[in-house]
């Protein structure tokens, strides 16, 4: 379970550009739940995701994962429990490394990287088997540099990399926003499959209303750093696209 207790986060405090990004946010995300976050730009969605990932730290309040306080840990220390897919497909992978090398790093997430070579035949077979499940023919491109692949291919591989090592939480930061419609749909379907197959606690930030309704077990809207709407699976299933769009009408 992922818990937020009275989380406050303000950027540029005390200056003319002060922004209260999150104000006294308290919420619980059950283990295995799939939460969709929607909200206008600047509503605090990305701040919430960054706080979970550890890219930034709260001014006040606590974040607990399975009972353990994690708000003081840096992002690389939290990575043993929390995986993340970035909006930009280029950020989640290292372009100059081969696909196999990228997967090697993912397989060692949260573990020390010693002076040993671990990309031998056994590992190659393991990765080939996993990548073939994508059905994109990428299992034949493991020796290629990641930079030679398309954004959609890289995002699909990034998703697969998140479950190369055991994790509890998967953060999806608009993973389809930079992709063409076909690739976007494919990536979202892969994400959905990975979340369910691995029983992950997932959080998806999206501006896409149809994605917000199609995926997940819970839907939240953030506004001015606060959670203003929170629908469980049953209530969410009764919402139409028009309902969700109407939440943004005053813009």
């Amino acid at each position: 379970m992922l818990e937020f207790q009275h989380i406050h986060k303000t950027f540029h405090a005390g200056s003319a550009t002060e922004v209260a990004a999150l104000q006294d946010v308290t919420l619980k995300l059950d283990a295995g739940s799939y939460t969709i976050l929607v909200g206008a730009n600047g509503s605090g969605k990305s701040t919430l995701l960054n706080l979970i990932a550890g890219s930034i730290h709260p001014d006040r309040g606590s974040i607990r994962l399975n009972g353990r306080e994690i708000q003081g840990l840096s992002d690389y220390r939290r990575s043993r429990w929390i995986a993340r897919v970035f909006q930009n497909p280029l950020l989640g992978t290292a372009a100059s490394l081969t696909v196999l090398d990228n997967f090697r790093m993912a397989a060692l997430r949260g573990s020390p990287k010693w002076i040993q070579q671990g990309t031998g035949q056994a590992f190659l077979k393991e990765v080939r088997d996993k990548v073939s499940t994508l059905g994109m023919g990428l299992e034949d491109k493991l020796a290629q540099q990641m930079g030679t692949l398309s954004g959609g291919q890289r995002q699909a591989l990034t998703l697969l990399m998140t479950v190369m090592a055991d994790v509890d939480v998967l953060l999806l930061d608009e993973p389809s926003a930079a992709l063409d419609p076909r690739s976007a749909r494919m990536v979202m379907e892969i994400a959905d499959r990975i979340v369910w197959e691995n029983g992950l606690t997932a959080v998806l930030v999206t501006h896409n209303v149809s994605e917000a309704l199609r995926y997940g077990t819970r839907l939240m809207q953030l506004e001015n750093g606060r959670v203003i709407r929170d629908y469980d699976q049953q209530a969410k299933s009764e919402l139409s696209q028009a309902d969700v769009v109407s939440w943004f009408d005053y813009y």
Binding site: A53, D75, Y76, S79, R104, G110, K113, I115, Q117, T119
Partner: protein, 289 residues
């Protein structure tokens, strides 16, 4: 002919340096100016070590440890104090000038009469051949070690740090620490070159590191051009390209001197040569456009 043999030997002395620069500039994307200071530091520690009766191999290892310390300082200033890597390198390089002067005691120390790495190896009758053999052994050893290291899990993490910090941090790597390791290794290699050059030349001079980063950069750019031309993707081939780059660069410099360029204009010639190496492909592209 001996003139060109000396150029090849000099290029081989620069071999560890260009691999170090390849590591800092191409793999970590950090313009590390510490190089000028850590190169001299390697030569200074060698002079002090030999003068105090240390075996040549021990002085070489001490020189590399000194270089690693200098590189760590630059990386710590950069990562802990969040100071731009270029400025951090300049600060450490400037500080090293005083450190080197204090360690050396004066601006120039001859090393004649001491048993160095090259004079201690006497398989061939010609000293040139002995020197070449020693350097070849060192470079082959270095090539094997670096080829292995950069393909290991640790090496992949280092390469990923220079490529995509968000990606490798998401895999649990402390990128700040990785930069410390990287610049420590890079400057240890640079200091190794300083030590080899001092032993080859037979003296250590406080100013011998001035502009050495430019010479190394020229070699790395030639190597990088070869890497792109060959579409080389494997680490061993990349290292070979970089090592060939330093041989080509030093041979070009020797050719310029052989054609009558005044030795006092060596640094100017080096800069112009590097400028040409950098600019020619761009000028070609502009003409094509």
């Amino acid at each position: 002919m001996d003139f060109y043999v000396a150029a090849i030997i000099q290029a081989m002395c620069f071999g560890p340096l260009v691999i170090g620069l390849f590591l800092s500039m191409k793999i970590f994307n950090i313009p590390d100016i510490t190089t000028d200071g850590s190169y001299t530091l390697g030569a200074v520690i060698t002079a002090v070590g030999l003068a105090n009766g240390f075996p040549a191999i021990v002085t070489l290892l001490l020189a590399m440890a000194g270089g690693a310390l200098a590189g760590s300082c630059t990386a710590l200033i950069h990562t802990r104090l969040r100071i731009h890597a270029l400025l951090a390198g300049i600060l450490v390089m400037t500080a090293l000038y005083s450190v080197n002067l204090v360690l050396l005691g004066r601006s120039n120390v001859p090393l004649l009469g001491y048993t160095d790495l090259f004079s201690g190896f006497s398989v061939f009758t010609r000293s040139d051949h002995n020197t070449l053999s020693v350097l070849l052994i060192i470079l082959v050893g270095l090539f094997i070690v670096m080829s292995y290291l950069l393909r290991s899990d640790f090496g992949i993490a280092m390469r990923a740090t220079g490529d995509s910090e968000p990606m490798i941090r998401a895999q649990g790597v402390n990128t700040s620490l990785m930069k410390v390791y990287g610049l420590a290794i890079a400057n240890a290699l640079v200091a190794c070159s300083g030590s080899l050059m001092a032993q080859f030349q037979g003296f250590t001079d406080i100013n011998m590191g001035i502009g050495v980063v430019i010479s190394g950069l020229g070699a790395v750019i030639i190597g990088d051009t070869a890497i792109n031309f060959l579409k080389a993707r494997t680490i061993p081939v990349m290292l070979i390209c970089v090592l060939l780059g330093v041989v080509i660069f030093q041979t070009l410099l020797a050719t310029a001197l052989g054609l009558g360029v005044d030795a006092n204009l060596l640094k100017l010639t080096t800069s112009v040569l590097v400028l040409l190496i950098v600019a020619l492909p761009r000028m070609g592209g502009m003409l094509h456009a």
